[in-house]
Symmetry: C3
Subunit: 423 residues, 3 copies
Amino acid sequence: MISAEDNAALTRTGSGTLMGGLFRRYWLPALLAHELPKPDCAPVRVKLLGEPLIAFRDSDGKLGLLDEFCAHRGVSLWFGRNEECGLRCPYHGWKYDTTGQCVDLPSEGADGPMRKRIKLKSYPCLELGGVIWTYMGPPELKPAPPAIEWANVPPGRRFVSKRLQESNYLQAMEGGIDSSHVSFLHSAALKTDPLFKGSKGNEYNLRDTMPEFDVVDFPGGLLIGARRNAEGGRYYWRITPWVLPTHTIIPPRAGHPLGAHVWVPIDDEHCWAWSINYHPKRSLSKKELAAMKGGKGIHVRYVPGTFIPRQNKRNDYLIDRKSANFSGVEGIAMQDASLQESMGAVQDRTREHLVPTDRGIAHARKKLLDAARASQEGKAVPGLLPEEQRVRSCAIELPKDKHFREHARHGVFAPPDTDPVTV
Amino acid sequence: MISAEDNAALTRTGSGTLMGGLFRRYWLPALLAHELPKPDCAPVRVKLLGEPLIAFRDSDGKLGLLDEFCAHRGVSLWFGRNEECGLRCPYHGWKYDTTGQCVDLPSEGADGPMRKRIKLKSYPCLELGGVIWTYMGPPELKPAPPAIEWANVPPGRRFVSKRLQESNYLQAMEGGIDSSHVSFLHSAALKTDPLFKGSKGNEYNLRDTMPEFDVVDFPGGLLIGARRNAEGGRYYWRITPWVLPTHTIIPPRAGHPLGAHVWVPIDDEHCWAWSINYHPKRSLSKKELAAMKGGKGIHVRYVPGTFIPRQNKRNDYLIDRKSANFSGVEGIAMQDASLQESMGAVQDRTREHLVPTDRGIAHARKKLLDAARASQEGKAVPGLLPEEQRVRSCAIELPKDKHFREHARHGVFAPPDTDPVTV
Amino acid sequence: MISAEDNAALTRTGSGTLMGGLFRRYWLPALLAHELPKPDCAPVRVKLLGEPLIAFRDSDGKLGLLDEFCAHRGVSLWFGRNEECGLRCPYHGWKYDTTGQCVDLPSEGADGPMRKRIKLKSYPCLELGGVIWTYMGPPELKPAPPAIEWANVPPGRRFVSKRLQESNYLQAMEGGIDSSHVSFLHSAALKTDPLFKGSKGNEYNLRDTMPEFDVVDFPGGLLIGARRNAEGGRYYWRITPWVLPTHTIIPPRAGHPLGAHVWVPIDDEHCWAWSINYHPKRSLSKKELAAMKGGKGIHVRYVPGTFIPRQNKRNDYLIDRKSANFSGVEGIAMQDASLQESMGAVQDRTREHLVPTDRGIAHARKKLLDAARASQEGKAVPGLLPEEQRVRSCAIELPKDKHFREHARHGVFAPPDTDPVTV
């Protein structure tokens, strides 16, 4: 249970807000790279942290992310012509390059006085890991490119999707760092989903519904360990790293690819749930890719032509209470999303009752608020440096007297190109 | 015409409002009994007086009406699993019984300290007359079960339906106690509807469009008498009882079953229009039941799978101005609802002009406000005792010097299992 | 760029607002005449300047435009029965004539005291030029009927349509007085549209994208001249008259009919775009009429049964970026509307950057504010007198030392029944 003030502080990310300030310190996923498939393709509407923007790829392949509206009379540049290294407003032909600089203002001709002064708000972009990332903060504070592992493996080892979630980012992210719900909500899917089934760890998950949570700080964020009883007098640890602002990595299951998420605020009532499968060492198989594209695992099927899940709140997520699924909703992603959206657009956290298995959530909230205040005061912020982002989830059996803090470091801080430590 | 303040006081029924306090003193219809057809069936979303709730019937058949949201992290219990005498949140398995008591909190095991302290808001329910009723007020003030006649006749003598009305409850209820509009709006239906036609009273209704209204207090509410000229130098009286908070009973027509309504606020801009036909003495015939189920009389046809009328404001109520219907809208229920919804979600009563035929409406408003204030001050409130609810509508011809107050008592306060007094 | 205060003052037109006061000084188009095709036809909902109204044509053909809601209990008179010289509310039979006077109040009989006192707000109407106009201002200030040319030519010389625009009126009107965008947005349509193509002026339009704007006051409003280079060392002038409050006339192209618009606020976020083609001297040809009815030129095709364009914001205006159209949107009207709606329901003019080609817009805003303040102070207001409205658009080539102010008067202030001065 937190105060209404803290809940507001944590969930509002628009320009000028406390948490909005923190989000603007990091590279954020903005679009799938294939949404801008080639030079001079159609521009795309992007809304991030409450700001309406337009993304485009210019004739040279350079990426631009600009204020949505033309500086002249406010027309949406979504209607713009993407041609000859710039986006041209179709109303009077004003044209902008990827930095937002006006490069043509036809009514005053080539050397007019006004053109040079016109510059739209623009944010730098980079393409990495199949994703176009943007940085919306002060230019002088721009960090190095994302070093998170999934974005840096060879393309064949990764699959990235995104879906619209009709809720604030925080309740989505809180689901991502809460591995205790797996024993209930996903209990049926653990046994049947092609990207989840067949792990010894799943058996432990289903058997022990009273995990102990232990949360460990690290420079990038938190390592959230969930401990369950295993066989032979040992503990089964699942370690979920959370890297600021909103990266999470799901602990592995047997030889399956790892799963990861990033939760990115669109506005205070919507977010993008980015969902990634990757394997640090091997290419994904055709069968795995087919399952991911087909909406299995942490991915979904869509309303055609959109990133809106086919199962959504307008159709009660196609719930079928007679199915084997615990909640009647099919698919791991929509099992989570359906419940998170049901909390309301912004969950009222003044009415919640947290328990010890929510320890990761409580720590993460505190860390977010602390980091946001630090950022506001010009102090250091966690998770900005590449080395702080190099972390991986891990599932491990350990003797009862060995804590994951010391004894899972080889799995959590593993070198690239190595197999996950998994059960 | 009333003040904006009085209009607000009369129409707002959320928690903490004046009128909300009054509504919370009575048993209110919450669902049709068949919406929860059997033990462990799917839970149902219910919104009453602005409060989001979940109704369920447990393994023993007991009824529960709880706060919609799990106490843990705010998930809607509409997604709950109804099993083994409780509703289980699918996120982390917290489980509640029909009183809202948490009976299982898996992460802390059987004897944890927290479980016992977790109790959701819950409202007592009872099943009576094909309806699940609830009481949302202070437990110590809970009244005896509803004694209104239609809820207490044998099942074969009753048909109950409900429909969504997209307006505040008050303008719906005011239609229910206003029998003067029958001569206009329902003039065609009086002649053709199988549940209305063939009464001598209908002829009086159509012939005399200048009824005199006389309103008489009784302990349950008001008896609203509408007097029209009959044959043989007599008066034709139609007596509509209004029982607090929002029960109305339509005066009978020849041998047809009686009609009754309850208007129950969902929130300030929507209400349930409960519509009941019943006969105090005989079973309804197959033909009558078929007509009721087919949307005749005071019932409607629905958008499949909902309680939304097929004729609704999004399709202009399928108006056909060339039909015989006075307004072009078909069916008595939707003739009323279309006009009441057209007033706006909450009618602006500062602009109305009441006339003597609105005397019942004016009295009822005053009585509602008086009762609400009395309730607030801990004083007695009308309509709470069973004997105050035992009243019936009546249609009667009387000599001009006999007033219905004294001379229709045998019809209005009739013993159960007797035929209505009707014309 | 204007202040937020001026933007609000210019764009709000509800009752009691500054600009609302100005609009209420003029005759405004309310409906197409054929929306009320004959006596006693169905009434029509009309919303103007934020006021909900009902229009009807009585048994004698007289036009009424009344407050939407019955004075009795607030029912929408859209459900009214239009019969025997009045609109009768179907709830209790109250009936109103075209002046809003209650002419029947059945419950009190023929000579009751109340009926005479009941009078709904009503606005005078007149039918002219295929349009039903209304005047919503103080009765004592009612001006003479509209003298704008298109409304006064013989019917065969005119075609009138209207479409819903989902934006404030001002950004729509500002498009209408801005002939500089033609060189961009409509560049393809100029060459192919049957109602635009084939004019020498079009060539000048496409060749010279740096027009000089010169704005001249006249008693009805402004004459906005756009000057482009022509052949033979001459200038090509296009002169767009703007007559208060929101009449515009498009400069002619060769022998095509003239085009005109009126932009009428429905509420602050919607307006009617009235679109008229007319020829002062000859009847429109069958081919021209077919093109207009087919949505060519400044007209559109509709969602059937509505005045909503088939291309609208819910379907991204059926944009096809591979088409020859400059913005990918088809049709001159929707090319304009798509961009104007994309600015948001009310454009934020504090963020715009006007240039010299926006001189007409800047002058018109100032004139609107000045006129509105004059009206508020009881001073004279431009555009009220018939002679102030008798103006026509003109396209003309002039020697460089001849200004349109003096040398296009024969085209701009032409006598009726004469050919336009055109290029």
